[in-house]
Symmetry: C2
Subunit: 340 residues, 2 copies
Amino acid sequence: MGPTTKDLARAAGVSLATVDRVLNDRGGVSLKKAQAVAAAIEQIGFERNAAAAALARQRSLRLGFVIPKTGGAFLDKVLLSIQEYETLGRSEMTILSVIRIEDKDAHKAARSIANIDANDFDAIAVMATQSPPLRDALLRLAARGVHITSFLTKQELEGDVDFVGIDNRAAGATAGRLMGQFLGRQKGAVLPIAESLQSRDTLERRLGFDDVIGNKYPHIRPLPTLETYADPDRARKVISTALKARPDTSGIYLLTGEAAGPVSALRELNALHGNILIAHERTSVTEDALRVGELDAVISQDPGHLVRSAVRIMRARCEKRRTLASQERIRIEILVAENL
Amino acid sequence: MGPTTKDLARAAGVSLATVDRVLNDRGGVSLKKAQAVAAAIEQIGFERNAAAAALARQRSLRLGFVIPKTGGAFLDKVLLSIQEYETLGRSEMTILSVIRIEDKDAHKAARSIANIDANDFDAIAVMATQSPPLRDALLRLAARGVHITSFLTKQELEGDVDFVGIDNRAAGATAGRLMGQFLGRQKGAVLPIAESLQSRDTLERRLGFDDVIGNKYPHIRPLPTLETYADPDRARKVISTALKARPDTSGIYLLTGEAAGPVSALRELNALHGNILIAHERTSVTEDALRVGELDAVISQDPGHLVRSAVRIMRARCEKRRTLASQERIRIEILVAENL
DNA sequence: AAATTTTTGAGGTGCGCACCTCAAAAAGAT
DNA sequence: ATCTTTTTGAGGTGCGCACCTCAAAAATTT
């Protein structure tokens, strides 16, 4: 057993009450004594007994996931992971809940956030496209004591906000590397397809992709990104046009998390085989496509890992613990048919 | 808060003492009452409060990792992960320790296991090549109440032994897929290199590899596996001979976890560029080789993940909890330069 | 029916911490 | 020097469970 608060009090030359005040930020402690306690913590290597703290605190941590209302298969998987964790997390004194927000319009999103009662949550993980009104709403929540973590999409508030998610630029670069390797010496054009170019993730992925292709595989020519606007008809039309315009196309890169639309469009156009196809996010659609050989690789991030990481970070923030950063980096996974 | 033991006792119509006897296997409970408690657990959805249990139990779980004495960079990473977890796990009431065993000889290994005092451990995770004497030694430990988990190498004892590690056949298949894709339409031979063919892991990987190559990329010819016996000189010699014998070699597959030897041999032979090279396990050697483009891909399993998973499983066994199996499958990771 | 064994219940203790109250001490203000 | 404010300490309570003892009740044997 490590040293207890009692040992800490003795080592610091203060009472248990003062130790408690320092450990739990209750204020009303002179700088001198506070420093004495801090020094003693270092010296004797005190570590709060998590089990005892959880038991005594008795109050479950209320963690919220703020998630857009509209979203496809990947988001569903994230939601499922949250649910899974809920049943498991009950014994760990955490209550998870999901808050769906409007995401079409920055102001609506901000209003959804503003509607969150700061008393209901100890921390929230926010997935939402950045915007000034949203930022203000988040800052107000933060001011009322809710810890904010950005989830999948970066938020820039004051100070350092933890971020849970992959590095999209590196993800795009990974896709570029695979595309280059899969195409080999073969010359040709690569067609990137996205839902929209508005999203920051898409842009970052494209940047990473172009970077690798340009530097390592200069014989491959990346075409301008096609936008589907999440509309199957439009997808089929623009893809068809693009493929006709560039018959030398030999690779297709689906930048967007939602691969279902483009994949079925490509299937109808008979463009699935013969072309190297790389997509993002593991969903039932991409899994199946990998298995039958329509897709060659999928770049993905594990939703379960995302959720667990977010929960760990939020808990650490609430309990004023430091997190083991190395454990929290979300890996960029590469999936092929054999390692599903 | 979920229901407590008090609620459980009331629901089952028994006393707290009986509930305690059932929950902690103290015996001396009639079948009838035991079933009543079990039924009540289901009915009211009782879940032991892990924090309170850990606190009351007071006794840290003593978990052991049984690891071969000889081992390369990958094993070092595993050991490092165990150490990392140790500092972190102290607050979680677990004490990890590592037991190094002889591994050259099955009898020596068995004797090392036999030397383990069953009173010192609640559970151990064993990494050792299977053999009848080893099996006996493990069974004796199990009989004395130590929970056994197989770690990286499967152990077949009585009943079901948990296994922590990747599916080596699938790992080999993944390597085969990448090799096939990277080589593209290019015909040629692929040279698999291993330390020795004795190890089960190596065999399984080779099987998976051949399976994919044979079925999906029949124009590629896998050569017989080269054995280096972990000897750099021998490695250089056999590789050189093999490459001369088959000038059409265009891919090399390093089956073994230790890539350092073969990689430097290949470097001296100037066989690194021009050939597609795939290896196993992330180490500083494979990382560097990936970055500079000598290696094209690495198939790996995360040591940190391995250790955490093993600990979770051992704890669950000791505390008679069921584990969330989905969370415990170790992923087969694919690494390229961009997703390190 | 008596003696034995097995099963059950009542009750207590302590794990390490969070959170609370109240009084005493120290520091600062007037 | 008195009053006010801030800081400190002593002490208590309870979280849910593990683990213990002892006596009473029930089931089994003799």
